[in-house]
């Protein structure tokens, strides 16, 4: 029987209460959101916090809102809401693509966006999604808020920019014209973690070139949620199969998967390339279809 080591339980009903508790209880305290990463780790004694601060009553952190230039998502928004949100599907189809294959529907009833990003597991799909979308993270403490771009949020595997007396409260996704996105994942069976997955977001110019594009990979080692050379290769290029091939190869070069029960390093490197190509192809096709074919797809 797996049972966590003993700890004290506190419940916070607001962000200010949660942060105050965190500040008072110090380094040995952890927030519990959905608990679907933390509790399994505690059951295996891979995590042994002395205090758990339950933030499920922080109702102010459950939302998906559209502002003038961005979509804002509260940290406690659960996978299920991300999957079902029409607003997200309309602006960022990558979310629905990814959420359909993150864990299973029962896990998705509990797991949260904030928990996924803070877990900082290199296999976490939403880190790749948020990096592809050029998201930024709002981190709150008793002295106010700071906004950290996704590129600086993950300090290393299982390590984030959120300090011991801080809390992730919101994720912001910039709304830019003429863009779309897609996510492709290979898993061994329904509900499993990725063997490899790749997300892509592209924004196009009026004449059908890629103004900006990003690719985020999951499950192929650290620092693969936003590969800078991929971005450079996409910028200003006309979309074509050759381009996807070239960018796929760059993505594959920049990952460092390990052989495990989900597959060999070689197979995962192959998938990184192939899934990058597929994600880019889908994302570009989605831009062209939403602009009613007004733009050339540049393939010919």
């Amino acid at each position: 029987m797996q049972v966590p080591a003993p700890f004290e339980y506190e419940r916070a009903s607001s962000v200010s209460e949660a942060i105050a508790l965190r500040e008072r209880l110090g380094e040995e305290a952890r927030f519990v959101a959905g608990g679907h990463s933390l509790l399994p780790m505690m059951k295996l004694r891979l995590a042994t916090p002395e205090y758990l601060i339950d933030i499920n009553d922080c109702t102010e952190l459950f939302y998906i809102n559209e502002e003038a230039e961005e979509i804002r998502i509260g940290a406690m928004t659960r996978h299920r809401e991300l999957l079902e949100s029409e607003l997200l599907a309309q602006h960022f189809p990558i979310f629905r693509d990814a959420e359909q294959v993150i864990a299973d529907p029962v896990v998705r009833n509990r797991g949260t966006l904030g928990g996924s990003l803070c877990q900082a597991d290199p296999s976490e799909d939403l880190s790749a999604v948020c990096a592809a979308l050029d998201a930024s993270c709002v981190i709150a403490s008793t002295s106010g808020e700071r906004v950290v771009p996704m590129g600086d949020f993950h300090v290393g595997p299982y390590e984030t920019a959120v300090g011991p007396a801080e809390m992730l409260t919101e994720i912001r996704l910039p709304l830019r014209p003429n863009g779309s996105s897609a996510y492709h994942k290979v898993e061994r069976r329904a509900g499993d973690w990725a063997v490899v997955s790749a997300g892509a977001a592209v924004w196009m110019t009026g004449d059908g070139a890629i103004a900006d594009g990003r690719v985020g990979l999951a499950a192929v080692g650290p620092n693969t949620t936003n590969i800078e050379p991929v971005r450079q290769a996409l910028q200003g290029s006309a979309p074509s199969e050759d381009l996807y091939e070239q960018v796929g190869a760059i993505a594959a070069e920049h990952c460092s998967p390990v052989t495990d029960q989900r597959g060999t390093a070689e197979y995962k490197t192959h998938l990184a390339k192939e899934l990058t190509k597929r994600a880019l192809r889908t994302a570009v096709a989605r831009v062209t279809s939403t602009t009613n074919g007004a733009m050339t797809n540049g393939a010919g």
Partner: protein
């Protein structure tokens, strides 16, 4: 710490250690052993119960986190001797063999039908995709849930309209 969980409409108040998982609270404190406990790793879904009407894996939830909430277990599906149509469907269509996965499967089915009274086979398969059955091959479970969709008014709704 003291927790207070309403299980199948009945308040259960107990003094527990904060680290107690909901599945053990339900089985050992409340004595409701219909909720099964299998993989202990959030994978098999036999421990699924409804928290405020939503299916959740109770081996991956603290009893403390559930304090103040409503839990439904398989024992709460039958009301005054009348089976929930999902239970009836599992009987009619042989939705179980050994029965180990059955409580979790039936509760997920109940939550699905509450949201979507006429689910397609695909929607049913998706809803139960986080739950493993080693016996039936799933087809009879899907048929059982379809049976409930076609033949049943949930007991809870019947009660509400009378």
């Amino acid at each position: 710490m003291q927790v207070n969980i309403v299980i199948n409409g009945q308040e259960v108040t107990e003094e527990i250690e904060p680290r107690m998982l909901l599945v053990h609270f339900i089985r050992d404190q409340a004595g409701l052993t219909g909720t099964h406990w299998g993989c202990d790793t959030s994978n098999c879904g036999t421990c699924v119960v409804l928290i405020d009407g939503e299916p959740v894996k109770s081996c991956t939830t603290l009893a403390a986190m559930t304090s103040g909430h409503q839990v439904t277990t398989v024992e709460g599906m039958e009301v005054d001797g009348v089976l929930d149509p999902v239970q009836e469907g599992f009987m009619q269509c042989h939705g179980l063999q050994c029965g180990f996965c059955t409580p979790g499967m039936m509760l997920t089915a109940r939550a699905l039908l509450d949201q979507n009274p006429d689910p397609s086979e695909h929607e049913i398969r998706e809803a139960i995709s986080g739950q493993i059955c080693r016996c039936t091959g799933y087809s009879s479970i899907v048929r059982s849930i379809r049976w409930a969709a076609e033949n049943g008014t949930p007991v809870s709704l019947e009660g509400a309209s009378s």
